[in-house]
Amino acid sequence: MIEVRVPDEQEGTKAVVRAWLRQVGDLVFEDEPLVELETDKVTQEVSSPAAGVLAEILLDTDAEAVPGALLARISTDGSPAKAAAQEEKPAASPIEGAADAAPGPRPSPGDDKETRLSPSVRRACLQHGIDASRLEGTGRNGRVTREDVDRAIASATVVSVGEPTTAQPRQFNAQDIPHDRMRLAIADNMARAVAEQPHVTAVFEADFTAIAAHKAAMAARGAKLSYTAYIVKAAAEAMAVAPAINGRWEKDRIAISPTIDIGVGTALGEKGLVVPVVKDVGHLSLEEVGARLDDLTRRARDGKLERSEVSGGSFTISNHGVSGSLLAAPIILHQGQAAILGVGKLEKRVVVRTVNGRDAMLIHPMAYVTLTIDHRVVDGHQTNAWLSRFVEIIENWK
């Protein structure tokens, strides 16, 4: 028997089993996808580690998939009948009927820790936006009790506004959209960012004439690059004049990230938003940035991103202009980051330039760029210095 386990790399967010792609008794090949896990950010496939027969499924649809938990067993001797027979074998019990006689809910299958939540705990967590998996359970086998949740609520610094919602399950209308994990995660991040980080936005304007020329020249040489690649690269370079923009607020200091890891907000239509991260942009060439972005964006839209690719950024860019917005002041998406760059729609505008000592009206590709900062981390001085440098790099691209 070969065991199939939940991959270890999960970075704290919760995953659930979304769907089994193979059923007990099915023949499976090595690396054939067996099951889909869904986190708040990505959908992840777990493949069969070996060829054989899927003998046993231990985590059903909607079960929580903790890293390392046993998902399934693969029988490698290839006989479906044998696999089924093994499944039917009853568990040995020291006292006949003892398990039936014990009062109360059946113990959690598999491991000793009780991770299931009571109705009361579930509701309290929903009402107060608490992630029960982060609480230390004081109940039997580590179960999170309602008292544990109440303690967490009492010790939270955020004061809740208004009455708690109704005690009974809400009725959905046909046109209502029930929250999925991504919507809840976005809501949680946004609300916390606004509540905890004092936001200020500065607005500059950037002339993309030089970029447009460079982009066209590169395309002529067969290297297709997006504007985003230039913006990412320019943002990384601008960090030199205000390193704290690449930092984050900690209780006792401003922590400056050693590498420049830039997340790029990528819309998934009705499905929400993910932020894949280009790691260590400072050490990548423009072409490498472009290639990384293409790959991440494509896989983001297919829902195939790894957890590690949507976490760990030190700075974020919201390219809101691609869907038509001229000017926006985005919220700092990733908690703790010092700033977020917003880039508006690139369009031809009339600008006044001095040509040969005389003012002239010219037509240039322009975009508004905003830097929204956490005012705890940086002030207007660094903000404007950073934006000035960023615009300078864009306008003088060679």
Binding site: G104, R123, T145, R146, E147, A167
Partner: protein, 356 residues
């Protein structure tokens, strides 16, 4: 379809006190306890005495209730005082006892038949059932209000006949109200209200509580009436709700010693005080039901189902029961105590739920 199971304010055309010019003495729902504590036997006898005195339509009868005064001495001295016409022995025929009570009730009297022990009510099953459904099946034309007194439950030792409780059997007879008092004060209030009421009442007198020291209470007043469906918290707390009645109340109190628990004595099962139980469970988030009756299909199963349904989102532990197992009551006191919920077994379940 759902109306006229019980009296709803519109008087039936035939049957009952209230159709024959009955004018009740004044009553109050506030007890005014005064004087020495009296036991439940004395309290019940005193109410019967007063109502026989003030209401000539009241009749008390059953096996050995006359000169002997009943095997539990509840009716002691009543025949002597009120005469053989109003307090009298019957033949050993429960079907006849309840059947004649139905006839008396239809004629405007208030019969108080006694079934000597709980199990002896079974031969009267059909009469009891048909009495209960009368108002409904005649669309409120006929009704036969009465107070059927039934001693039962364990007392010192057990046995499959005298000691059974099986209150649910009566809850399952539509039209009957069911009282299960645990103490003298509640017995007074419920019995007096029943004797002045307009519905058949099954009045369950727990044998172990009739002379139990815990169940003794000061006389709650000559006008005290306790409405059905009003439970009482005998202890109050925040961590667990314990729902019980009858002889299990003092055991639950003992088990909940040093625990922050709401102990709720239901006092009546039909109707039962669902609101008090649900309000309490929504606060404590835990519910334990303790009863003497057998586990499967006992009234605790009904309470558990209602709590699981209506307080589901508030529960932080399973809804649990401590009951007799599904066996007849064993005779030997030690065996009987093994089968009954004890303060220890209740306590163990409280701890399981609190530590869940």
């Amino acid at each position: 379809m759902a109306s006229n199971v019980f009296y709803e304010g519109e008087m039936q055309q035939v049957g009952g006190l209230w159709n024959s010019g009955y004018e009740p003495p004044p009553l109050t729902d506030e007890p005014t306890p005064a004087g020495q504590r009296i036991n439940m036997v004395t309290a019940i006898r005193k109410v019967l005495d007063q109502e026989l005195e003030s209401n000539p339509r009241v009749l008390v009868f059953g096996e050995d209730v006359g000169p002997k005064g009943g095997v539990h001495a509840v009716t002691l001295g009543l025949q002597e005082k009120f005469g053989k016409e109003r307090v009298f022995d019957t033949s050993l025929n429960e079907e006849g006892i309840v059947g004649r009570a139905v006839g008396m009730a239809l004629s405007g009297l208030m019969p108080v038949p006694e079934i000597q022990f709980r199990k002896y009510a079974e031969p009267a099953t059909e009469q009891i059932h048909d009495c209960g459904t009368m108002r409904w099946r005649t669309h409120n034309r006929f009704a036969a209000p009465m107070v059927l007194r039934v001693p039962g439950g364990f007392f010192k030792c057990g046995d499959p006949w005298h000691s059974m409780t099986n209150e649910v059997e009566f809850v399952h007879n539509p039209g009957w109200k069911v009282a299960v008092p645990s103490n003298a004060e509640d017995a007074v209030g419920l019995l007096r209200g029943s004797l002045r009421g307009n519905d058949p009442v099954l009045f369950f007198e727990h044998r172990a509580m009739l002379d139990d020291s815990w169940a003794r209470r000061p006389w709650p007043g000559d006008a005290y009436v306790l409405d059905f469906g009003r439970a009482k918290k005998t202890r109050e707390g925040d961590k667990i709700t314990i729902v019980t009645w009858g002889a299990m109340v003092p055991r639950c109190e003992a088990a909940a010693e040093s625990v922050s628990a709401d102990v709720i004595d239901l006092r009546t099962l039909q109707p039962w005080d669902k609101d008090m139980v649900l309000d309490s469970v929504r606060r404590t988030r835990r519910c334990l039901i303790v009863h003497e009756d057998l586990r499967t299909g006992g009234f605790g199963a009904e309470i558990a189902a209602v709590v699981a349904d209506e307080a589901f989102l508030d529960l932080d532990a399973p809804v649990a029961r401590v009951t007799m197992p599904d066996i007849p009551s064993p005779h030997h006191p030690k065996l009987m105590e093994w089968a009954l919920p004890s303060p220890e077994s209740i306590r163990a379940e409280i701890e399981r739920l609190m530590g869940f």
